[in-house]
Symmetry: none
Subunit: 188 residues, 4 copies
C-alpha cells in the first residue's frame, strides 16, 4: 500500500521537541513573536528539520495544539449541572486565556495564527474551540442538532473572539447575556 522507501525515518525526538518548543514559545510570547528560528533554537534542532515537515509556523502550531501541548485545560467544560451557566463560565475562561502575566491575550494570538495559516484556521473552529461545547450546548438548546447547533456554537465562540479582538473588558455577566441571547431565555 505505502510505497516502500529506504533511508532513515523521521526522528520522533525532533518532532516532539519542535512541537513542545512551539507551544511554549507561543504561550510565552504570542504568535507574532513566534519564529521558526526561535523554535529551532529552543528545540535544539536545525531549521531545515522544521521546513522539511511543515510548510509554515502556523502549521507547526496547529499540530502542537491538536496534540494538546497547548490549551489542554480549556478543552473541557465544567459541569455544575446547569448547562447555560457552565457555557458562560467556559466562554469567560476562553476570553481571559492568558499566557504569561505580560503576554498578549492568548486567544488573540490564536486568532492571529488562524488568520495567518489555513491549517490552523481549518482546525480552530471545529476541533479546538467549538468541539468541547457541543454536547452541553445541545442540551441547553433543548435538543438542537445539525445546522442550528453549529450556528449557535459559531455565534457564541465568534462573539467571544470579536470581543477579545476589541480589547474591551468583558466579564462573566456579559457572557451570560451572550448565552441568553443566542440560546434563548432560560426556561422557568
Amino acid at each position: 500500500m505505502a510505497l516502500p522507501r529506504s533511508g532513515p525515518i523521521r526522528s520522533q525526538a525532533a518532532r516532539s521537541a519542535i512541537l513542545d518548543a512551539a507551544a511554549a514559545l507561543f504561550a510565552e510570547q504570542g504568535y507574532d513573536l513566534l519564529t521558526i528560528e526561535g523554535i529551532a533554537r529552543r528545540a535544539g534542532v536545525g531549521k531545515q528539520t522544521i521546513y522539511r515537515w511543515w510548510p509554515s509556523k502556523g502549521d507547526v502550531l496547529a499540530e502542537a495544539i491538536l496534540e494538546r501541548r497547548l490549551l489542554g485545560a480549556q478543552r473541557e467544560l465544567p459541569d455544575t449541572g446547569d448547562a447555560r451557566a457552565d457555557i458562560a463560565t467556559w466562554l469567560s475562561d476562553l476570553f481571559t486565556l492568558r499566557a504569561s502575566p505580560d503576554g498578549e491575550g492568548l486567544l488573540r494570538s490564536l486568532v492571529a495564527a488562524a488568520a495567518g495559516s489555513s491549517e490552523t484556521g481549518r482546525r480552530l473552529r471545529t476541533e479546538i474551540l467549538a468541539a468541547p461545547l457541543m454536547n452541553r450546548l445541545a442540551v441547553a438548546m433543548g435538543g438542537a442538532a445539525g445546522a442550528r447547533l453549529e450556528a449557535a456554537a459559531d455565534a457564541l465562540v465568534g462573539g467571544v473572539i470579536l470581543r477579545a479582538l476589541s480589547r474591551e473588558d468583558f466579564g462573566l455577566d456579559d457572557m451570560r447575556t451572550l448565552v441568553d441571547t443566542v440560546v434563548g431565555p432560560a426556561p422557568r
Copy 2:
C-alpha cells in the same frame, strides 16, 4: 498657552498618499504582506514621515479604513424591507469580501490586523463591523436595545469571522440559519 512653533505644518498630500497606499496594498496583498517600507515606496514618501505620525502599520490601516478608503461599500446594509433577510445578505457579503481574484479573504486579513494592532482591534468591532448592523438588527429583534442588542451583533459578526477563519465555504443559507438562531425564529 499653545507653545509657539515655527516651520511647515503637516503635509496633507503626504498623509493622504500614505493612507491610500496602505489601503491599496492591504486590499491587494493582505495584512501580512503590508509593510511600512512598501507603503512608503508606493506613496512616494520617506519612511520617517510615516513613523512621525503613526506608531505602527496597524494604526495607519485603522485610519485608512475609518476614512472609508477601504470597505466603503460594506458599511451600508441593503434595504428590501425584510430586516432578517437584509442582515443575512450583509453577513454573506462580509464573509465573501475579497480583494483581488487571487487575494486572500479580506475579512481574514482584517482579523489579522485586529489581532496584531490594538488600534485596529479597538475600532473593528464597534465602528467598522457592527455599526452598520445596529439599526436594522434592533428592528429585527423587536425593539431590543442595550446589552442584548450588542450581544446579538457580536454573535452574528463573530460567527461570520469564525467561519471565515475556518476556510470552509458558507453560503447565504448558512447565514440565514445564523440569523434565525441568534435573532430567534421569524414571527408569522
Copy 3:
C-alpha cells in the same frame, strides 16, 4: 595471504560514475560550484559512498584529472619540430582552457582546486601541468636538467597561471615572449 572478507567489494561502477560526474561538473561550473551533493546526485550515488573513499571533493577531483577524465588533450605537447614554438603554443592553449562557452576559465578553477585541496595541489605541479613540458623544454634549453630545468618549467607554467588569475587577455605572442625570457633568446 589475502585477508578474507565477506560482503560486496568496492563497486567499480560507482567509483567510475563519481569520477565522471566530478569531472563533468567541474568542467561545466568550476570548482566553487562543485559540491559533494552535486556529484552524488549526478552520479546516482549516495553521499556516503563518496565519503567512504575520498576525504574531500578536492581529492575526488584530483583523481579524476589523473585518470584523464579531464584535460586529456592538454597533456600532450604539439610537435612541429620547433620546441620553442611548440612550448609557446602549449602555454597559450593552457591559458585559454575553457569549459563551457560561458564557463569561467578552467585553468583558474584548477588553481582554485589546488589552493583548496592539498591533494590536488600536490599533484598539479608535477603530474598534471609541468610533466608534459619536460622533455621538449630540456631540448629547448640545450640539454638542461635537474634544478634549472624544474625552475624553468615552474617559471613558464607559473607565469601562465599568474596571467590567468589577472583576467587580462594574453595571446600567443605574449607566450612567445615568456618563453624567450625564460629559456633565453633563440639561437640563430
Copy 4:
C-alpha cells in the same frame, strides 16, 4: 558632474571596520573560512552594509589589501646592493608568507581569493605582487623594459605561486636558481 543625492552618506567608520575585519580574519583563517557573516560580526556591522557596497567577499578583500591593511611589509624589497640576491630573498619571503602558526599559507589563500574573485585577481598581479619587483628587476636584467620585463616578473612570481600550490618545501637556494634561470646567469 556628480549627480547630487540627498540622504545620509556612506559611513567611513563602517567601511573601515569592515576592511579591518576582513583583513584580520583572512590573515587568521585563510580565504575559505572567510565569510560575510564573520566579517559583519567582527566589524560590528549589519550584513547588508557589506552587501550594499561590495558584491562579494573577494572584493572586500581586494580593497583591504590594496589599502595596505594586509601584506604591508611584503610590498618593499630589501636593498643590499645586490639586486639578484634581494629578489631571491623577497621571493622566498613571499613563499613563506604565513598568517598564524597553524594558518594555511597566506600566499595560497591569496591565490584562492584571486581565483574566486575577478576584482582580487585583476589587482593581484600588477598592483600587489609584481609591483614591488619591477625597479630592481629591471636593473638585474641590465635595463630590460616593456614586455620582457613583465614576462620576467610573471615568471618569477608565477613560479613561486606554483611552488606554493604544490605544498613542497622550497628554500632560498631554490629561489636563487629560479632567479638565475629567469634573469640569466650572473655576470662576473
